[in-house]
Amino acid sequence: MSNATNPILKVEGLTVDFLSDDEPVRAVDDVSFHVGHGETLVILGESGSGKSVSTSTVMDLIDCPPGDIVAGSCLFDGVELSDLSAQARRSINGRRIAMIFQDPLAYLNPVYTVGRQIKEVYESHGAGSGKDARAKTIELLRRVGIPEPENRVDFYPHQFSGGQRQRVMVAMAIALKPDILIADEPTTALDVSVQAQILDLLRDLQRETGMALIMITHDLEVASSMADRIIVMNGGKVVETGIAKEVFSNPQHAYTRRLISALPPGNAAEAPNKRSTAIASETLLKVEHLTKHYVLASGAFSGKRTFKAVDDISFEVRRGETLGIVGESGSGKSSVARMLLGLNAPSSGKAVFAGENIFEMNEKRLMAFRRKVQMVFQDPYGSMNPRMRVYSIISEPWAIHRDILSKNRWKARVAELLELVGLLPEHADRYPHQFSGGQRQRIAIARALASEPELIVCDEAVSALDVSIQAQVIDLLADLRTRLSLSYIFITHDLPIVRHFADRIMVMKDGRIVEEGQTSALFGAPRHEYTQSLLQAVPKPKWLTHAQ
């Protein structure tokens, strides 16, 4: 399987800096790896350890300057990539090496339909055009599990759910069956069943075309189910590298050991958890018959078409409680969250927060309400103003609600919050674009915590974090819950995490709640068949399946 002697891609001694007036930031430090035909290399590593930067360098996506490739070589199929002309590299990109980006919303062009953006791959590499390309596009979308691809092909990125966008990215990347696919966290927003489908798709492709796969993931289960070899990165360096099974069963480096130990044991039912201990009986939020229809782009003369994304759901959250929402990608979870925050108007229904219907609040009441409720968005990059420094981003709640914190303490508090989420105080001076995906997500969490709310809606808030930092953040959230009797609505695809953290779980599918119950009860005896399929779809390590 592994073709170490003749790898299709061989990266040697890659070192990448980011330049500015200050000392250069070293993002990648002497990183080497290689991957062969049909092989899967998984890059594990701490959030911010240089995974995305090093793979982007392979595709010539780092702008130099401000980036600076200090050293290193990338041999692709025996050719040194940095020797090639820009034109030659372009013709390799997309056709022979393709990439799935980490933050799908930002990486999709907002003004073009996804169909057009995928079609473009075919057209620019002369692999079909017009009707033919469109048909191929629709077929691709179907393969990545987008419902009604014939219609959806003409939708714009903002009309998709987070997971759907991620699948669009996947579709775009595999369109031309590249020799190497670099997948940067390709399943962070996917529920287990869709995730399995995507992983199967990738495996099929590998079988079919001998595609080499470089997969960056924080998800150890996914890693184990895909990897032939693994490298582990930390602080810009490769700290461990080896055959997947070896690394999992016998980790060498301290960081790797910490990672592997964070993997939940086989039977997680009775593992220690972080569920809350003191839930008040007081109902904080009560949602009744909430419905959301999206109006779909209507031509001037066709009637309005609508899409029912949230269909008559009711639930409640008590003070100090964590409600986990899991469900199929595209089932309306984010839509519910946005409506609760008053960002999208509901089509009908009520949401009573502390005795008052959110949807009928006047400006002033809404202000007061929003102080008590915060949200961590699914697309952290987009949710931060690109012109603001992290300091301003995190301190913004205090600037809005003047009574939270007096101005002279902001600086210290920002530093404190950054440290709580595992970042450095000096990161406060940076801008959002200077961070890695996981780091941005943590900034978003820090901001949500800053205003000391009563309820935080976390939409895939920890999905891009590696297991160790994930654990740190969950601990932090749990701690705040006990101390401040915070409540959470925790939207995630990650079953181990909800199981670990949520008190009650709500399962959504197709805009409806299919099942709801106490965490242990639900995990112990799932009633709905979708829930059952979710719980079963846990990926199995590759070396086990392979052995059969």
Binding site: L343, E363, Q374
Partner: protein, 307 residues
């Protein structure tokens, strides 16, 4: 021009000034532009005091004196105008009125137009429609007619002149600001700010305006020339600046009939207008780079690691 400081002050307060200076030095063209503008500003402040007399002294017997004729003294290097007054002195003295009127008009129209545009773009209430239709009305209203009406109802004065110029230039800022807001308000970070409880005013000022401003500043830098030149057209009606006061625009207009015979009369003030506009633009592009964190590296030292 103001340099857009989104939030630099909050973090790097101590060194901001020095940092900007360093950025300016890194862009030689911007440095030259800044120096030129500084000269114009100096001329505007000190001009009347320095060469005020020379600028208004008649010299009917040396009308249209050609430039670079050395016999008449250094003040005549750029030649003399139709009444034999030294053009150099008039350029220096004219800087005050020119810069004053143009800056006031451009700034007022950008401020008012920009603000209204932000409001009209962000809000969907009745007043946003009203603002837009008013802008349409202003756009359809011939500026000359407006000038005439102001002249007849309010009388000629520099303030009224500035009002007319500002009002007629306003729609472009209004509509541009609005167009940008239409897109920006759909961005996630705006939703995020709303979710945090930020009032519309804060969202507009803190989140949207900094992204709209660069475009407005770009427009205003060019508008500077437009305003100077249209000011001279209005003086035809008696609303513009009245002799013995004058502006570069008036000087250009004055030399209009002499392009064939005494090109220098219209050329030098035209050149001054052009250089000023050019400098403002270069500086606004520079400011745009400074204000955009993703572009700022262009002006930074970029110390590379040793290899």
């Amino acid at each position: 021009m103001t340099i857009i400081t989104t939030d630099t002050k909050s973090v790097t307060a101590p060194g901001t000034g020095r940092l900007l200076l360093a950025y300016l030095k890194r862009d030689k063209l911007a440095l030259a532009a800044a120096i030129f503008l500084a000269i114009v500003v100096l001329a505007a402040i000190l001009g009347p005091w320095l060469v005020g007399d020379a600028a208004s002294r008649l010299g009917l017997r040396q009308r249209n004196l050609a430039p670079f004729s050395l016999g008449s003294g250094w003040i005549y290097v750029l030649g003399a105008d139709t009444l034999g007054r030294p053009i150099l002195a008039r350029l220096i003295v004219g800087a005050q009125n020119t810069a004053g009127i143009a800056a006031a008009a451009v700034f007022a129209s950008m401020l008012i137009g920009g603000t209204l545009g932000l409001v009209a773009g962000y809000s969907e209430r009745w007043y946003s429609h009203l603002i837009l239709r008013l802008a349409d009305v202003v756009m359809s209203f011939p500026s000359l007619l407006l000038a005439l009406i102001v002249l007849y109802t309010l009388g000629p004065s520099i303030t009224n002149l500035v009002i007319v110029l500002a009002v007629t230039r306003m729609p472009i800022y209004l509509r541009t600001a609005r167009a940008e807001v239409l897109e920006l308000r759909e961005r996630m970070f705006v939703s995020a700010a709303r979710a945090m409880g930020a009032k519309p005013a804060r969202i507009i000022v803190r989140h949207i305006a900094p992204l709209v401003l660069p475009t407005l500043v770009t427009i205003s830098a060019i508008d500077f020339a437009t305003v100077i030149l249209s000011e001279s057209a209005l003086s035809f009606l008696g609303l513009g600046i009245q002799p013995p006061d004058f502006t570069w625009g008036a000087m250009v207009a004055n030399g209009r009939g002499y392009l064939t015979t005494a090109w220098w009369i219209a050329f030098w003030p035209g050149l001054a207008i052009m250089l000023t506009t050019l400098s403002l633009n270069i500086l606004s592009n520079w400011a745009r780079t400074v204000a955009d964190p993703q572009q700022r590296w262009r002006l930074q030292t970029l110390r590379k690691a040793a290899r």
